[in-house]
């Protein structure tokens, strides 16, 4: 039994234990410890990668085997760490007075197990098994709050099921032609397959795996499903769940088909190749949901929409296919997991205290919940991709790689996404923490340490790895090598390139020093007196708490007046059209059976058959 077997065993054990003792008072703490153990195991097995599991089956001539490559290991680290922080957050006060705690803890552990199984898969069948496990495990995590959450989860599952079937068809296609389904053989098969076949397989798999990732136009389920799930679960799902789709896409596009082949695969009737096609789809995925996020009035929905958009960056980075781009894309996965988890936790903390996440009904909480504010501040800077947080580093790598790879328009697309992100994260923090405190929140207090400590730790990780991106780039290297890309030379502060590098040690250092100078200049002036929020310029009006003096609704009215005409909800319309199409066909078919002039059908059918065969 090697480390991988042990890890899977511990993970399955965690699930079992947490389902068994989920309602126990210390279940959350126990879960946290068990995730820490899994993380330790992952750390231990790092030198042994890729590590093949001793478990394996052979069914119908197909060998099912599991092996953790550097890529899977990289994602596994993020998965387990996300679960660790989510469980930690739920372990204390947050979880104390909740029903369904068994489902919460057990569901989380089940998700981790399923994801580990997926990440360790080494052939298409085990990949598919892992994929379905992940789908259903996340369904279990999503439905917990009942009501609208169930509707959202149902929508997700229908998408996921249809997508999985598309993947299954692709696997069957490969199975019909390739002698075996392990990654090695499939790679060989892809090398010899024709363009048309590859396109079909690729479209099918992207349709399937793209569902989970929220690749346009398959993303519609995601915001509601994530934001309706319980806070820590939303943090976990938001941080890593969708990235499973990315993982599978990387496996198919980069590991099996190969990025070089992708570049040689033409799109019919155009100048494009497959690489550019997917890159533009990724660009759309990063732009459209980001600007939809801008229109959201619910903090969780806003974050969930951004989750989709950020996925676009990762895919875009990987499709650039240069070491810089791939490293950037993969690094964005881990960066994003840190700040997205912390953001969801922060929003959950706010909801825990105020009972709402409606951005029109919050405001001014900065003085009441300063630590939550700091968390959110650090993490929105990360999400927006501005220095000095880690989100900037990965985005910089993607930008730079795009420019180096002569893709200026994609670069501009990526920047547009970033601009939209900056706008909506400011809206998020402004409407939650800044502006006027509402009367009903005047007595709100900071969340207890069991909740703020994990958040703050994540926020610190976001900052420290922004300062020293080399820490994460080391992890990324494992994955990059596993994909078969040259390792990116880097140092603790960033990367050195011939034509303009990045050294975050210096940049953040200078920024901090300059802020110090700013502080000195600031303190040159006389000391200030702190005034209340009603001592405020209002054109001579005396402010009162019964009249809200806050600007939050339709925050970017001017911008929205320009871009809203473009948001016609085309994809939602398409979805509705599909549903009503199915309804219509369903009506027609059940009408056919219900009318049931049975004998007549038979006679007609016989006559038709005779007519067809004899004439």
């Amino acid at each position: 039994m090697n480390d991988l077997d042990l890890l899977l065993l511990v993970s399955i054990g965690t699930t079992a234990v947490l389902f068994a003792f989920g309602t126990w008072r210390w279940a959350g703490a126990l879960g946290t410890l068990l995730y820490a153990l899994q993380l330790a195991l992952l750390a231990v097995m790092r030198p042994e990668l890729p590590l093949a599991s001793g478990i394996g089956f052979e069914v119908l001539g197909y060998r099912l085997q599991w092996s953790l490559s550097g890529l899977g290991w990289f994602f596994a680290i993020i998965t387990v760490a996300s679960a660790l922080f989510s469980a930690w957050f739920a372990a204390g006060e947050w979880g104390q007075h909740r029903r369904n705690l068994r489902l919460l803890h057990g569901g989380l552990a089940l998700n981790v197990t399923a994801m580990l199984i997926l990440l360790a898969s080494d052939d298409l069948i085990s990949l598919f098994i892992g994929w379905e496990l992940v789908s259903w495990a996340s369904y279990l995590a999503m439905v917990q709050r009942g009501g609208p959450a169930m509707d959202a989860a149902y929508r997700y599952l229908v998408y996921a099921l249809a997508g999985a079937l598309a993947v299954l068809v692709a696997i069957a296609m490969i199975a019909a032609q390739s002698p075996a389904l392990d990654f090695g053989s499939v790679r060989v098969w892809f090398a010899s397959a024709g363009n048309g076949t590859i396109w079909t397989v690729m479209l099918l798999t992207m349709a399937g795996f793209g569902v989970k990732m929220g690749l346009l136009p398959l993303h519609l389920w995601q915001p509601a499903a994530y934001s309706e799930s319980p806070g820590p679960i939303a943090a976990f799902l938001g941080a890593i769940s969708s990235r499973m789709g990315l993982f599978a896409i990387i496996v198919v596009l980069a590991q099996l088909i190969g990025l070089e082949r992708l570049g040689n695969l033409p799109v019919a009737f155009s100048f494009w190749n497959a690489n550019e096609f997917w890159a533009w789809l990724a660009a759309l995925t990063l732009i459209v949901p980001t600007f939809i996020a801008l229109t959201q009035n619910d903090a969780r929905m806003l974050l969930a929409w951004h989750g989709i958009g950020q996925g676009g960056y990762m895919l875009l980075g990987i499709l650039i296919a240069t070491p810089l781009g791939v490293s950037g894309g993969l690094m964005h996965v881990i960066n994003y997991a840190c700040y997205q988890a912390a953001l969801f936790l922060a929003v959950t903390a706010v909801a825990h205290r105020t009972g709402t996440t409606d951005l029109d009904h919050l405001g001014g909480l900065i003085n009441r919940m300063p630590l939550t504010y700091v968390t959110m501040l650090f993490c929105i800077i990360g999400l927006a991709g501005l220095p000095p947080m880690n989100g900037f580093v990965s985005k910089w790598m993607i930008y730079k790689a795009l420019l180096d790879a002569q893709m200026p328009l994609l670069f501009v697309a990526a920047v547009i996404g970033t601009l939209g992100t900056i706008l909506s994260v400011y809206k998020l923090i402004h409407n939650t923490f800044l502006g006027q405190l509402r009367l009903e929140h005047a007595q709100v207090n900071e969340v207890p340490i069991s909740m703020w400590l994990p958040m703050i730790l994540l926020a610190l990780i976001v900052f420290i790895t922004g300062w020293m991106p080399g820490l994460f780039l080391d992890l990324v290297d494992e994955a990059v090598v596993a994909i078969g890309i040259t390792q990116l030379p880097h140092h603790l502060g960033g990367v050195d390139l011939g034509n303009g590098g990045l050294d975050m040690l210096w940049i953040v250092g200078v920024l901090l020093a300059a802020i110090g100078i700013g502080a000195i200049v600031y303190f040159l002036g006389n000391r200030s007196v702190r005034v209340g929020q009603f001592d405020n310029y209002a054109g001579g009006q005396i402010l009162t708490a019964d009249v809200p003096y806050q600007y939050s609704h339709q925050f970017y009215a001017g911008l929205l007046r320009v871009i809203q005409p473009w948001m016609r909800g085309g994809m939602a319309w398409g979805e509705r059209a599909l549903v009503s199409g199915a309804d219509f066909l369903g009506g027609a078919m059940s009408g056919l059976y219900r009318a049931a002039p049975a004998g007549a059908y038979l006679l007609l059918a016989v006559l038709a058959a005779l007519a067809v065969t004899l004439l």
Partner: protein, 300 residues
């Protein structure tokens, strides 16, 4: 690199930026006065204003975030200057490239935005919402321009871009080589200055100077200092990208003043656009020119 040398550079670069920026602010006000047939303020007026504001005896703060935001905003602009190479001083331009610079330029605005939010004044919030919208308006063309420049020179390192332009005298300047791109960049730089017709976020008569509504004393003073840095940074950035940077201060200073002067000379004859019109206008014209320029670069 010699550490002392670097340290001197790091001190000198913001200092020069501030002093030149003061003169630019004076120029801004003088130009306006001349166009309105007034005499205008005395030479030391920008300095008077700043000293006056810092020496206010009572200061109103809306909480720690309000104060920290001021430090971050000022720190951001100072940090920005050391990544902008000027004649003889490269600072940290090797450690961060053009993209880093552009993103560093957003830090002060974001810091300010947080501080303004902490002031809890909706006028300020509206101002920030408009300022960020304006950022979307001008940053998209600007980024297209940046992409064009980076593509044209095959690098994002500012010293290399400058060196490439200085290689053959004026004929290798960006404005000669890529004139359409330079035009798009100029319009974007104009909007970056936030003067009429793009000053939607200040709008004194409408939202009481927007972000500045609750800024008093040293807070306002910090904003005045920031304005100096920002005017300078826009001038230097544009000069670096399209006017061959600077070999000597004697030739460099006229260029950056010229860059700032052109918008300032135009701005006084305009009223103010509506927010959505700024977006449309910038995307249509600045974005159009920038895209055309980019297309020309790609075709080369």
């Amino acid at each position: 690199m010699d550490f002392t040398h670097l340290f001197v550079e790091l001190v000198l670069m913001p200092l020069i930026a501030f002093l030149v920026g003061l003169v630019m602010v004076l120029m801004l006000r003088k130009v306006r006065a001349k166009i309105e047939r007034r005499i205008g303020p005395p030479l030391l007026q920008p300095l008077y204003d700043i000293v006056k504001l810092y020496s206010k005896k009572t200061q109103v703060s809306h909480g720690p975030m309000h104060e920290i935001a001021m430090m971050v905003a000022l720190g951001g602009v100072i940090a920005m200057e050391v990544f902008l190479p000027v004649p003889g001083l490269n600072g940290l331009a090797e450690k961060g490239d053009l993209i880093v610079l552009i993103y560093l330029m957003m830090i002060p605005s974001l810091g300010l935005a947080l501080g303004v939010g902490a002031c809890a004044n909706p006028n300020g919030s509206i101002g920030i919402s408009r300022a960020l919208t304006a950022m979307v308006a001008y940053d998209i063309p600007l980024m297209i321009v940046v992409a064009g420049v980076a593509l044209f020179h095959g690098t994002t390192s500012l010293p290399e871009i400058i060196a490439a332009q200085q290689a053959g005298g004026m004929s290798t300047w960006g404005i000669v080589q890529t004139p359409v791109l330079a035009l798009g960049g100029l319009i974007a730089a104009y909007a970056m200055l936030g003067k009429e017709p793009f000053e939607i976020y200040v709008a004194p008569a409408e939202i009481a100077t927007g972000p500045m509504v609750e800024m008093s004393g040293k807070f306002m003073g910090t904003l005045f200092v920031m304005q100096c840095f920002q005017l300078y940074a826009v001038g230097v950035l544009y000069t670096t990208l399209f006017l061959g940077g600077g070999e000597y201060w004697i030739s460099f200073l006229p260029k950056i003043f010229a860059v700032v002067f052109i918008p300032l000379a135009m701005t006084n004859v305009f009223p103010r656009y509506k927010t959505e019109d700024v977006l449309k206008w910038m995307w249509k014209w600045a974005g159009g020119f920038a895209l055309a320029g980019l297309a020309l670069v790609v075709m080369k």
